[in-house]
Symmetry: C2
Subunit: 201 residues, 2 copies
């Protein structure tokens, strides 16, 4: 019933995560009513995405296709003896925004999830072990998400790294109360962790 | 900090209605992790949108650029003596899905809104009056949204049409209880309308 070009656009937009038919329609109609430039800009950005963005072969972070390795690894100011391990490349930018970490990153590319069919050998764990050996890494900070999948992955990583490198320091991000959440609403596990890991004033 | 091509895409996606920085990041990263085909398909659909979709010069509905007038107007099976007036072109498809209307449509292109700077002369009201005269229209069904803007527009339309065409039947969509909303949660105005316009069993 809709014009074919609009229906095609709705169909393509509907493939984005969390975008249903109604939202896709709203986006498409907005683009149709907006200036042609916006559609054109978006189309160009899409065509350039896979050409100009690549995954770093060392850290699996995302980087400009013109780079050989991620600038966050290549930069001599970054301490290669500390590796912070995240699930997804975007997690890096959440950490970078804090401006308090000066080590390097390693992206696993997900977390172990039997339901989604993700097993340990699909993650970049082998490459992490290789890096720990090659770069004489002293500390690995495990920063997987606080979900069932992230927890399982953290436990496995700890086990594998510990077996292989007896002297390696393995740490995890602290558990505790996030800013702005009152005690009343904090869940039991978070609150137990906050109590257990209390800090001296 | 992000690769330029990814930052450009996030920027363009962030222009969509209701899409903030985080959502735009999620969409862009999803597209990066997905097959190139999806980005390519979306880019092609965007480039073809303004080329292949046009506004009907008669009804202001959207149509394939190859059409002279909207097929919903052109079709001899549609009754041109009944015109249903909507704010936006997508509203037509909501009515069409009911499969119960066989008249034609007229898109106003919005509703009167002093706050958004939309005045009556920016809407396709003049063209509607022209159509009522040209097509010997017998009934105009006003189907603007039940918002303050839609209401004001409906009142103005009724006044203008009534002044000009004494014998024209002017109707509005019924007010009443929507499916699945219990009495308890219905607002006062809707409930008053449902009571006033009660139907005989």
């Amino acid at each position: 019933m809709l014009p074919t070009a609009l229906a095609n656009l709705i169909d393509a937009l509907g493939r984005l995560p969390g975008v249903g038919a109604r939202t896709a329609e709203r986006y498409a109609y907005f683009l149709f009513k907006s200036d042609t430039n916006l559609s054109h800009k978006l189309a160009t950005a899409l065509e350039e995405l896979h050409q100009n963005v690549k995954t770093c072969p060392k850290t699996f972070a995302i980087m400009d296709a013109s780079d050989q390795v991620s600038p966050l690894y290549d930069d001599p100011a970054r301490d290669k003896s500390i590796v912070l391990v995240v699930e997804e490349a975007l997690d890096i930018y959440a950490i970078e925004h804090t401006k308090t970490f000066h080590g390097t990153y390693h992206v696993l590319g997900g977390a172990i999830s039997p339901i989604d069919g993700v097993s340990a050998d699909q993650l970049h764990i082998h490459e992490l072990i290789q890096r720990v050996a090659d770069d004489s890494v002293e500390e690995v900070i495990i920063a997987t998400n606080p979900s069932v999948e992230g927890e399982s992955t953290a436990i496995l990583l700890e086990k594998l790294l510990h077996e292989r490198f007896g002297n390696l320091k393995i740490t995890r991000l602290a558990r505790g109360l996030p800013l702005g959440v009152s005690l009343e609403y904090a869940d039991q596990i978070t609150l137990s962790a906050a109590l257990e890991n209390r800090t001296k004033l």
